[in-house]
Symmetry: C2
Subunit: 435 residues, 2 copies
């Protein structure tokens, strides 16, 4: 079938057969499907949708468009976690060494900052010397040796995703649950994992603003994982406010170290433990939720998780001394404290994650364009949290950037990110479990 006839089928609202989706994906990689044809197909998919069977077939074709790692050197059950992206979301940095220390290997391939959300790779690269570009074989040996490795997508994994993902932002075809699902799962399943735990962020600071969309994405990913023989569970977690007290790169590594030393913010640890419990459950480690939680707390309290983080840094070329002296992390040229200007004491009602995330991008922590370089030292920290009381003149947050012009831009974007008044009753960040 000619490519234009395939596109016409989706344009006309018909379901594509697995063989048709495979032909499309293979054509994208071989060049037989031109980029304009791929763009037209993506828009037809956005507007006419893909059902779960089509999404699974698309994911399978994208997964097998390149090399699929087997990680034969790692005999134990391997589990990874993926987050759909939030502000201050350094969970992966804490979770990978934590879960590895608890006995479950975590082979993790991550992404970079996107829009107002941070990227695990950018955060790791704030650690002096840290390499995220390991070859697949190096990656496998490291997981076998220390139980975890954190790298970026290599050229040989899911090349169809790299091409389609590169098209989607420019062609306004990002917001589409089946395409998001296929992109995430094709990359994640290429890592050679046995199961996957998903953190589907929902709220003001997430790509999925509504509970309904988050639920649809979570259900689709869990169902597609099932169809492809990879058990997946999803937690829908609240992302209305930043996670923890920092959003940026070095500032988040610093907070990661605090978490691994037992001094992490409660919201961040709540999400980290909830996802860790799911990962242990997927691997059949532990008796029940309480036991799994105890195992995680135990390796954290004993310092084994921090040891694993040190080993991870060292294995990937970074300076492991940062785990003991965070002042070795890059520092910004300009720092500014943003203070509460009210005349009397007040309670923080809310902190707008989207505003904080966009502020961090303007400070230099993220990218306005794909080609932009990230400033490892830029970001926001010392953030107050909802429910906390502030007195006149108290610090609401601290901004880090290369120069005062960037500080001005970031501060301006912050605008009325902080709301004061009666806070909503504190609710769990874990909204729902799907799996």
């Amino acid at each position: 079938m000619r490519t234009q006839d395939l596109i016409a089928r989706k344009r006309d609202g018909r379901a594509l057969a697995p063989g048709e989706l495979k032909a499309f994906v293979q054509g994208v990689v071989s060049g037989d499907v031109s980029l304009p044809q791929a763009a037209a197909m993506l828009m037809a998919m956005v507007l006419n949708g893909l059902d779960d069977t089509e999404t699974a077939a698309l994911t399978f074709a994208m997964l097998h468009s390149g090399r699929v790692l087997e990680l034969k050197l790692v005999s134990r059950y391997k589990v990874d976690k993926h987050s759909t992206g939030g502000v201050g979301d350094k969970v992966s940095l804490v979770l990978a060494p934590l879960v590895a220390a608890a006995g479950v290997p975590v082979p993790m391939i991550s992404g970079r900052s996107l829009g107002h959300t941070g990227g695990t790779l950018d955060k790791l690269e704030a650690i002096p010397g840290f390499r995220t570009d390991l070859e697949a074989d190096e990656f496998e040996r490291q997981v076998a040796r220390i139980g975890c490795a954190m790298i970026g997508q290599t050229a040989e994994l899911a090349p169809a995703d790299r091409i389609l993902y590169g098209l989607r932002d420019a062609t306004a075809t990002v917001e589409c649950i089946p395409l998001i699902c296929a992109s995430i799962l094709s990359k994640k399943l290429a890592e050679g994992i046995d199961a996957l735990v998903l953190d589907v962020k929902c709220g003001r600071g997430a790509f999925m603003k509504s509970r309904e969309d988050a639920r649809r994405l979570a259900r689709t990913m869990v169902e597609v994982g099932r169809q492809l023989g990879k058990p997946a569970t999803a937690l829908i977690t609240r992302m209305d406010e930043p996670l923890g007290r920092a959003a940026g790169n070095a500032v988040e590594v610093r907070e990661t170290i605090a978490c691994l030393r037992g001094g992490g913010p409660s919201d961040l640890m709540e999400v980290t433990y909830a996802l860790g419990v799911e990962m242990l459950a997927a691997a059949g480690v532990g008796e029940d939720v309480a036991d799994r939680r105890r195992r995680l707390e135990s390796v954290l309290d004993s310092g084994q998780a921090l040891d694993r983080f040190r080993a991870l840094i060292e294995a990937q070329g970074g300076n492991p001394a940062v785990a003991d002296d965070p002042d070795l992390l890059p520092r910004a040229g300009a720092v500014r404290e943003v203070r509460y200007s009210g005349a009397q004491s007040a309670v923080v009602r809310a902190v707008d994650a989207l505003a904080v995330g966009e502020c961090a991008v303007l400070l230099g922590a993220g990218r306005k364009r794909e080609s932009d370089a990230v400033d490892p030292a830029a970001g926001v920290d010392a953030l107050v949290r909802a429910g906390e009381r502030v007195e006149p003149g108290d610090v609401l947050c601290r901004l880090h950037a290369a120069d005062t012009k960037r500080l001005d831009e970031g501060e301006q974007r912050l605008g009325d990110a902080f709301a004061f008044g009666d806070p909503e009753p504190a609710a769990s960040l874990i909204l729902e479990r799907i799996g």
Copy 2:
């Protein structure tokens, strides 16, 4: 506004403002809008539609993406005709010299064969030496001198259309009335005409299969012409059967000459006169329909229309002697008669225009791919017509091609193009007038 935000507006079903459509079209020409972005926008337009105001703004932007001829040398009111494409549709070849001879200048820019339909340029180029690639100035001088010229789109006219048109076939975004309208009108209005008469073909052998689609396209074009200050009228004409008795290139020139000599098939002349009457009316020539028809018949009967055809050929470098000796036209290497194989006399109930058109393509008269060369001698002629009686062994049509392999392919495609039995009562080919 970024291009992806423009695309997102149409993806989300919103109407684009004239300035937004202008920015899109200018970006397509400058390269600021990439081809994948253009393809995604086209698909969003196909699926979410464009209203008449948007279609007019898109047409206007495409028209002004390049040079717009003024034809100042031609002082009289200039009218052109455009057909949406059919099988055996050589109306332009008869009509341009006929209307020019009746006193209305016809500056005509035409296209090539597309799918199963023939193209005016391919037909003209079957005349030995005929050049369709005149420069704009040459085109203008010729219209001023002899009242008509027939050329192809030049590089400087409506460049945005050339780029978008080139994308549409490959991206399954052809079937979209606003895009069809903008493509046709942007090219036609760039010719420097004062008014336009449209022949919207409808039926088995047309791109618009249903009356409703044909009516929507006709109404859209008439309305957009009105909004752009160029009066347009449309005739919806039946295209279930081939027009005349020939489909191809040289075979259609031969039939054109027969028409201009007064011996044209009645169906072809019916459509030609109806469109000619509209063109004269648009130019304010003649009193009423009957008077305009008499004027056209008069220049045909007197030989003035044929003289004008001879002058047209000579002006464009062709051999004008073909008008007197059609045997000077190219002849095919292989000819085959397809005969009625029934055991007893029968009446032809219908001739399938789509089958005949596709047969002509396979014989070599059209293109399977855009890069294919056309065989000027290939085609079908001596076609029987619905309502005619055939005896066993009578010729149903004659096939012309370069070799017997092509004849075989064409004959096979013909299949059951001819149906026999009680014919439907002969109805007018002119189904409706919109304007």
